[in-house]
């Protein structure tokens, strides 16, 4: 019988279902892959397992007993640990103190020698005798910090271990060592749930794989019974819905041209052009460098090389201020941190740009002109708000995104860089944002759209560039623009076939 069984799990956020009757089960002594597109519900399911979220329906059964998990700490006490990409380690403390932190609370005087011995034993057991338990965690490389995090879970008798994209931050060699560690844990009967986008890792390491899609479980297979193509099909197999509004924009002259852009390790020699009225997609896995391209273009991150031409003229953009002055607008990935000021009203957000055209002499605000312009945009964008004096924090995610757009409309930006514009907004708001994007394109704006959702790329873009490891690895357009093709490019041919 399976050690862990999750049955009929449902969860919704603000009326939007994130999980619908999802099921998952895993055995002791296996590595079980959990796969699916971004937004398929993997993380939500694991957060329910780890006690970070409540679930609305269904049950979690471990060893035949239904568990009521009260919170993250309770989950850990019940032997369920999740290793996230961001570790919960006290960076200023030693390795031993971190591993044995829970036990420290149960004694008064510390026996450091004994602690170092125990932590050292655990590390040696895991094949990491080169980690000194006395070392300060913050001084360790990321891969070792991950090992410390895993050892911490083990010291608390963790029997169900969830690894969330553990290799995202590791080099190949480090990945090998991590795999050894995972296999060792499997041999001891730990039940390991492994989340990764890298297909080759799944086939190298996992016994079984469960695929999720749209908040539901597609099914569970023995890894050996599948090949790369079949697994890819299972993850994406859905017809392109007619969810996207029709496009009527006319494609005009080249608005933005980027030549040989280099910025840090995530942007390597990126070149492309976008025309007026065109929506250019920028696809790829999370961490492929898409956001970094936009940030470098916008002057938010330093550039090492590259030229940017706007409407055929070379422009120098060293800061976001210069970018806006040149006619670029950025809708950032993290709306609440970088896009809007939640506790200011809509109209203040709308004119919060270095190019506020409503300023009077000495930079005094022109209240009446601002209000009139904001009211007009509110009608234009069909912004749902009680009034333009409402705080942005009271709006829904989709409407907040519209406020972000407002300030670029005010500044008359005609090249818009949109970074995951529909992340975290509900389906209705998504359609609204798509409509606004199409409207802007129809008015002659050039749009660069970064999205992790392949359907969005296919539905919205005239063509899409796919990035991998900081480089553009291919372009898809027209009938070529399929989920299979995009995944293949994003993961690398060698990884898919």
């Amino acid at each position: 019988m399976d050690r862990l069984q999750m049955r009929g799990i449902s969860k919704s956020f603000g009326g939007i279902a994130a999980l619908r009757d999802a099921a998952f089960s895993a055995r002791a002594g296996e590595v079980h892959a959990l796969m699916g597109e971004n937004g398929a519900g993997k993380s939500t399911l694991m957060k329910i397992l780890s006690g970070a979220y409540d679930h609305e329906g269904g049950e979690i059964v471990v060893d035949g007993v239904a568990l009521d998990i009260q919170g993250p700490h309770d989950a850990i006490a019940k032997g369920i640990s999740v290793i996230y990409q961001e570790f919960s380690l006290a960076r200023h403390l030693s390795v031993a103190e971190n591993i044995l932190i829970a036990e420290m609370g149960r004694t008064n005087l510390l026996d450091s020698a004994a602690m170092h011995r125990r932590a050292g034993d655990l590390l040696r057991d895991m094949g990491f005798s080169d980690i000194d338990p006395r070392q300060i965690v913050g001084d360790l490389p990321v891969a070792y910090q991950q090992v410390v995090e895993i050892c911490k879970a083990l010291s608390r008798d963790c029997t169900i271990l969830v690894l969330d994209e553990p290799t995202a931050v590791l080099t190949n060699h480090e990945t090998e060592k991590l795999f050894d560690l995972v296999r060792r844990l499997r041999a001891r009967g730990v039940c390991i749930i492994y989340i990764s986008h890298r297909l080759d890792e799944i086939f190298a390491l996992c016994n079984r794989v469960t695929v999720m899609k749209d908040g539901a479980t597609v099914g569970t297979w023995e890894t050996g019974a599948l090949n790369h193509d079949q697994l890819t099909q299972l993850m994406i197999g859905r017809a392109l819905s007619d969810f996207f509004p029709p496009r009527t924009a006319e494609i005009g002259a080249v608005a933005l041209e980027v030549r040989g852009l280099m910025a840090g390790p995530m942007v390597r020699d990126v070149s492309f052009t976008v025309r007026r009225g065109e929506v250019l997609g920028l696809g790829g896995l999370v961490g492929a460098g898409r956001t970094e391209v936009l940030r470098a273009l916008f002057g938010a991150d330093p550039r090492q090389a590259g030229q940017v031409l706007l409407h055929g003229k070379l422009v120098k953009i060293g800061s976001p201020r210069e970018a806006v002055a040149a006619g670029l607008g950025l809708m950032p990935e993290d709306r609440k941190q970088q896009g809007v000021l939640l506790n200011l009203p809509i109209r203040s957000n709308a004119v919060m740009t270095p190019l506020n055209p409503f300023l009077r002499i000495f930079g005094l605000l022109n209240d009446r002109a601002e209000r009139a312009a904001t009211e007009e945009m509110r009608r234009d964008l069909r912004l749902k708000a009680a009034s333009i004096d409402a705080d942005v924090g009271t709006l829904s995610g989709g409407n907040q995104q519209k406020v972000v757009l407002m300030k670029w409309l005010v500044s008359r930006c005609d090249v818009l860089l949109l970074d995951e514009p529909t992340r975290g907004v509900d389906v209705g708001a998504k359609a609204e944002i798509y409509r606004v994007i199409n409207d802007l394109a129809a008015r002659g704006a050039a749009i660069v759209l970064v999205s992790s959702e392949m359907l969005e790329l296919i539905g919205m873009c005239d063509r899409a560039l796919i990035m991998r490891a900081g480089r553009i690895v291919g372009e898809v357009a027209g009938n070529d623009m399929t989920e299979e093709k995009i995944i293949e490019l994003a993961m690398g041919r060698e990884n898919v076939h």
Binding site: H73, I76, L89, A90, L93, I101, M104, R106, N108, L110
Partner: protein, 332 residues
């Protein structure tokens, strides 16, 4: 497995021991500038003056380690100093036992007010800056109200008071080390052990380093924060009593600006205001650095106002050394 190797170069040594180097430089400068500096008498005087700041800085360090800040230390010191001055003559008995009763009572009062800070921050989740800012004005108000704003003098012939003054002004028989300094040293040693050798100490540091990690270990984060503020309050009251012992008068203006010196000492000693990093020993070096700066300038007869500017500049220098220098050595 990993190629990241530590580089033990001269620069990293300088960075690692930057406050020790700073202290050494200041001592050297003082000795050159004045022949009176390296006399036992001057050193003892200097340390005697620094004893209250040392106590308060330890309390401040505890709070800073948890990621908080305590602005009320100066006010609580004033209350401690006033309270003991008023309580000694009021007791129906006197002598050593009476002094102990007074000290314990005043310390408990400081701890109580500190505990209020702790509850506001750890239980009600108020920002430490705000909660202790409020306590700072409340405490100062209490100190003024205790005597209508007047300094409190106590009868010199009272045996309890004589003991207190002896503590403030006399030293260890033979060695001559002032009692306040000896007392501060004992407290320093106590907290070195508590912070490094007990789980309470390590988890207090862990709370400031990563609260989530402590919470996920099933440990009561609020308790570590609460205790830090409580202890800080108690140490502040003790510091105020030492001031009263030295000057033989309790005044409500004791410790104005003390919180800034204590924060400066922690920061010079390398403590991170975001929590998780800082040691008692380094903080004491910070106290000495601050004290030496003042001492040098007094020896050079620098007027009081420029002194403040120079002190500020040296704080900036110390923090730059810690913050910027590591960035220079860490190249990608």
């Amino acid at each position: 497995m990993f190629t990241e190797a530590a580089r033990p170069g001269l620069l990293s040594l300088i960075i690692k021991y930057n406050i020790w180097i700073m202290l050494a430089l200041l001592v050297a400068a003082s000795s050159v500038l004045s022949e009176h500096f390296l006399t036992v008498q001057n050193i003892y005087n200097l340390l005697r003056q620094l004893a209250p700041l040392a106590l308060v800085s330890i309390g401040m360090l505890l709070v800073i380690l948890t990621g908080g800040i305590d602005l009320s230390v100066g006010s609580l010191a004033a209350i401690g100093g006033m309270f003991i001055a008023m309580m000694m003559p009021a007791l129906p008995f006197d002598g050593a036992f009476a002094l102990i009763v007074c000290v314990v009572a005043a310390t408990a009062l400081g701890a109580l007010l500190g505990a209020v800070n702790g509850i506001l921050v750890a239980v009600f989740g108020l920002a430490a800056f705000v909660a202790t800012l409020a306590m700072m004005t409340i405490g100062r108000g209490i100190a003024y109200m205790m005597s209508n704003g007047q300094p409190v003098r106590f009868p010199k012939e009272l045996p309890t008071a004589q003991l207190l003054q002896a503590f403030g002004n006399k030293g260890l028989p033979g060695l001559g080390a002032p009692w306040p300094v000896v007392f501060a040293l004992v407290i320093v040693c106590l907290f070195v052990v508590l912070l490094n050798r007990t789980s309470w100490g390590r988890l207090t540091v862990a709370t400031g380093s990563n609260e989530t990690a402590v919470r996920l270990a099933g440990l009561p984060v609020w308790k570590y924060k609460f205790l830090a503020y409580t202890i800080c309050g108690a140490l502040s009251a003790l510091a105020g009593m030492i001031v009263t012992a030295r000057t033989a008068v309790g005044t409500p203006v004791t410790g104005v600006g003390l919180e800034l010196d204590a924060i400066a000492a922690c920061v010079i000693g390398g403590a991170l205001l975001s929590g998780g990093k800082g040691t008692v020993v380094n903080t004491m070096i910070g106290v000495l650095v601050l004290g030496l700066i003042g001492n040098i300038m007094n020896l050079l007869s620098v007027p009081a106002y420029p002194q403040q500017i120079i002190k500020g500049l040296i704080i900036i220098l110390a923090v730059l050394l810690q913050g910027v220098a590591p960035r220079l050595t860490r190249r990608v």
